[in-house]
């Protein structure tokens, strides 16, 4: 109970304080003569955001770059040693392969299923559409850790002798096959693919919502025209709908791609990165929190950063394009 009251006080204080901050900034600036005020007015509104971003985002990113060239305790510069160590370590190369697999599989599958669901729900009438969409969309609201829990139960393995309590193994036994400790099987990257399924399960709802909105925006006339030409459902989808929603599909693809490059919680919760399932963000996590190796950990994150920069470029370009349309 004491915690709750303390929390409430802290919350109120924080909000009042931040309102006060803006009031104070404005009051201070108002002391300036009108002529100068007009030129610095923006500071009253932008300063807190700029300070926050500079201190907690920009400066630390620069610091991480610098540290990636230093040793474990960031005392001496070691040049490119951290990077050389990473790229000559077969374990790290296998981690990169895992990341590459995630990037190749998850966005494509998510977008494909999302498009299929969006197209199908568009045909079944508003009532059924609403129920189906809500159920597919629901996983989007839960945490990666909760999702990992749900799927750990689904993949659960009980050694022979007792009944299987996970669905997957129960189906296996039902088919007359042997139950498998799924998440420990790295042959053919099977366990990594099982982890990917969790992310697809989480993200299809998002992809469905965006693509569905785009499909609904397809002008009625183009569809009517296609019907007059006696096009079948597939032809209508392929030649009329798909080209018009392609922009949205690509937007979803890039968003999921960025998310997947940073994937971390699901792997941590389900395998802890064991059995050859580790990914970049998890390597960073273990390098820092378990081994306390700041230099090498920074180098890992810089690798991740460099892989994401091209996407940053795509992002800025898309935004610019939208601005021009305005």
């Amino acid at each position: 109970m004491g915690d709750i009251i303390f929390g409430l006080i802290a919350v109120t204080f924080g909000i009042v304080a931040s309102y006060g901050l803006y009031w104070l900034l404005n009051a201070l600036l108002s002391l300036l003569p009108e002529k100068i005020l007009r030129r610095v007015q923006w500071l009253a509104f932008l300063t807190p955001a700029l300070v926050l971003v500079a201190l907690v985002l920009l400066a630390p990113i620069v610091q991480t770059f610098v540290w990636s060239f230093m040793d474990k305790r960031v005392e001496n510069y070691v040049g490119f040693d951290n990077y050389i160590a990473l790229f000559t370590d077969p374990d790290f190369l296998s981690v990169l392969v895992n990341n590459l697999l995630w990037v190749l599989v998850v966005p494509a599958v998510t977008v494909a299923i999302g498009t299929a669901v969006a197209t199908l729900t568009n045909q079944v009438g508003p009532n059924r559409e609403k129920i189906f969409k809500t159920l597919i969309f629901m996983p989007m609201s839960i945490s990666f850790v909760a999702a990992a829990t749900i799927w750990s139960l689904t993949y659960a393995y009980v050694p022979p002798g007792r009944p299987e309590i996970g669905i997957l193994n129960s189906v296996m036994v039902g088919l007359g096959l042997e139950a498998q400790p799924w998440l420990t099987i790295s042959d053919g990257k099977l366990n990594t693919f099982l982890l990917m399924a969790v992310l697809v399960w989480l993200q299809v709802g998002y992809s469905m919502v965006i693509i569905s909105a785009a499909i609904k925006a397809v002008p009625e006339e183009t569809l009517e025209a296609a019907k007059l030409d006696a096009a079948n459902a597939w032809q209508v989808f392929r030649h009329i709908i798909l080209p018009q929603v392609w922009g949205s599909i690509m937007a979803v693809f890039v968003t999921v791609l960025i998310l997947v490059m940073k994937i971390f919680d699901v792997v941590l919760a389900m395998t802890g990165g064991n059995f050859d399932t580790s990914v970049l963000a998890l390597e960073w996590f273990t390098a820092f929190f378990e081994s306390r190796e700041i230099g090498p950990a920074s180098a890992i994150v810089v690798v991740l950063f460099v892989l994401i920069v091209p996407l940053m470029y795509v992002q800025i370009r898309t935004v610019k394009k939208q601005e021009e349309l305005r």
Binding site: Q41, F45, L153, V301, Q315
Partner: protein
Amino acid sequence: MNKLKRVSEKLNLGSTFTLLFLVLIWSIPTVGLLITSLRRRSDAEVSPWWDAIFNPLETAWTTEAFRNVAESGMLDALVNTFAVTIPATILPLMIAANAAYAFTFLNFKGKEVVFSLMVGLMVVPLQAALIPVLRGMVWFQKTVDIQLTGTYASAWIVHSAFAMPLAIYIIRNYMLTIPTSLIEAARIDGASYYKIFWSLVLPLSMPAIASFAIFQFLWVWNDYLIAFIFVGQGSPVLTYELLKLLGQYGQGWQDVAAGAFISLIVPLMVFLGLQRYFVRGLTSGSVK
């Protein structure tokens, strides 16, 4: 035969059954979790959860697991999660709304450059900043003797900063739809920019702020990394406790399941209650 085909087409049976199949795959794992959380340990250990569905009357339903995990820290974690999430939702929105106002209605040198930088920061992996931020906070508390790490406040700051680029972008996009003539009219009437923000622009921007608020709430509530690093075990949040429970599934899946359920019930309610705004936010591009 032809008639049957026509009826099937009219009701879209093909699409409906395909969807039904998908929805089943999508829901079964979650249903399994809920059922498991309501079973006794002795049952959950030896028989699969669907046994309970097929014999609902013979099953000993119990909330024992919920009581177990509530006592072992899940309830405290629920309170902690609220204490982290609510300010970490309100603060960044307030700061971002002010910043978006400056970006939309005020002119200053370098505005375009600063805004492009913000947009670029939207995709930066937060891991790239975390270690220096953590060390900076430690240095800060050594220098001025104000404890930051291990407190809620540190999580508020970090969440606020990371939300900034996207929040500013979304809210600015919305503010651009407010006619400039409205602002000019208020200026002529003698209102200060400060007054115009609080009594005109902020109320008008509420739809964008509300849909971003839902996102930020879900994002912070579901976050593991920042809570783990900055709040830690002193006041563990739900994701932290749940991961700990998951490591102990040897104690029985019913406890893990109950823990997961406690952790996901609030975001699920928010989601179901505010789905419309959530979708609107998504389609206007607010996604991390």
